[in-house]
């Protein structure tokens, strides 16, 4: 794609963490590298420092073969200490799909991701409504923006106890909800059984963001959909 098409106002160093079994790391790095001014490096899970990285992405995939629970073992990779420290200092951390599962297992985000209610691996385009557009990964969008993004997961059914859900809603930590084409949040538009149609949440400070859909898979015109690019572009504002 024409790299001149995207002209972000500032530079950003991305770090994409690679766990054994990650399989969306290259796609994520590719999209980050398309952003003018952005640089990206892969961070092997055994690294203990993130160096001068300014935004960390935990990519999708099947870290450690999803053994025990999705993300349960990746959580103890050496790099996760550095990620937690980075997050505690306000650094931007994004977890996509398996990355989201790793963030909840790490307690960097609340709740858990249960198997889809349909008991099936779901791989298709869905719509999400952006309910929170003032955090770093969404601020290039208006609140209520509807994005078409692909999902590809078996365990994306967001669950948390009642108290936690109430807290999430009160603090506006629900960033995205599954919706229909018109942005209406309905049970029919919920692909996996997630409570409150939750597709993505952030922590209280808004600097740690996890989402089940894959923005890196729809960020180039040649793929027929560039909605995912809006998340990457938001980071550069």
């Amino acid at each position: 794609m024409n790299r001149q098409m995207i002209t972000p106002p500032k530079k950003l160093k991305f770090g994409v963490v690679v766990f054994p079994g990650s399989n969306c790391d290259r796609d994520t790095m590719h999209v980050a590298s398309l952003l003018t001014g952005a640089s990206v490096r892969s961070v092997w899970h055994k690294e203990t420092s993130l160096g001068d990285v300014e935004a960390v992405i935990l990519p999708g995939g099947f870290s450690y073969g999803d053994y025990l629970r999705c993300g349960a073992i990746a959580r103890f990779s050496p790099v996760m200490k550095a990620v937690a420290e980075f997050a505690s200092k306000g650094g931007t951390v994004i977890g996509i799909c398996n990355g989201f599962q790793i963030l909840v297992e790490s307690h960097l985000l609340p709740g858990a991701l249960l198997p889809n209610v349909s008991r099936k691996f779901i791989c298709k385009n869905i719509r999400v409504r952006v309910d929170r557009a003032d955090i770093r990964p969404t601020k290039a969008m208006a609140p209520g923006t509807v994005l078409k993004l692909p999902i590809a997961h078996h365990d994306g059914n967001y669950f948390a106890d009642e108290v936690t859900i109430k807290r999430l809603e009160k603090n506006r930590q629900v960033v995205m909800r599954y919706c229909d084409e018109n942005g209406k949040v309905t049970p029919e538009a919920n692909p996996n059984g997630s409570l409150g149609n939750i597709a993505g949440i952030c922590n209280e400070h808004g600097n740690v963001f996890g989402l089940m859909p894959h923005p890196e898979r729809c960020a180039e015109p040649i793929l027929g959909n560039t909605d995912g690019l809006k998340i990457f572009e938001s980071l550069l504002i």
Binding site: L68, R69, A72, I73, F76, V104, E105, P110, G111, A112, L114, P115, N116, V117, S118, R119, F159, A160, D161, G193
Partner: protein, 83 residues
């Protein structure tokens, strides 16, 4: 010592696997079957000075890794003679 850890989904959480198995049992003719829940069974061989030390360690293992308290309960059984 040998330990057996059982991890189960917390009650109230829909167990989709359990439901599927329940349906399969119904179609096999076991019509009186209900409430099928599926968990994990983990066997661990370990060195520990005392049963109490082993139990404390197992409890920590469960909390840190073997179970996710957001969605799961766990139960530990310890055989100090190792049988």
């Amino acid at each position: 010592m040998k330990a057996k850890v059982t991890v189960t989904l917390r009650s109230g959480i829909l167990d989709t696997q359990g439901k599927a198995v329940e349906h399969a049992l119904h179609s096999l003719g076991f019509t009186g079957v209900h409430g099928v829940r599926i968990g994990k069974h983990i066997e661990i061989e370990m060195d520990a000075e005392t049963g109490e030390a082993a139990k404390a360690a197992l409890d920590e293992m469960c909390k840190k890794l073997l179970a996710n308290p957001v969605m799961e309960n766990y139960e530990v059984r310890l055989d100090e003679k190792g049988k």
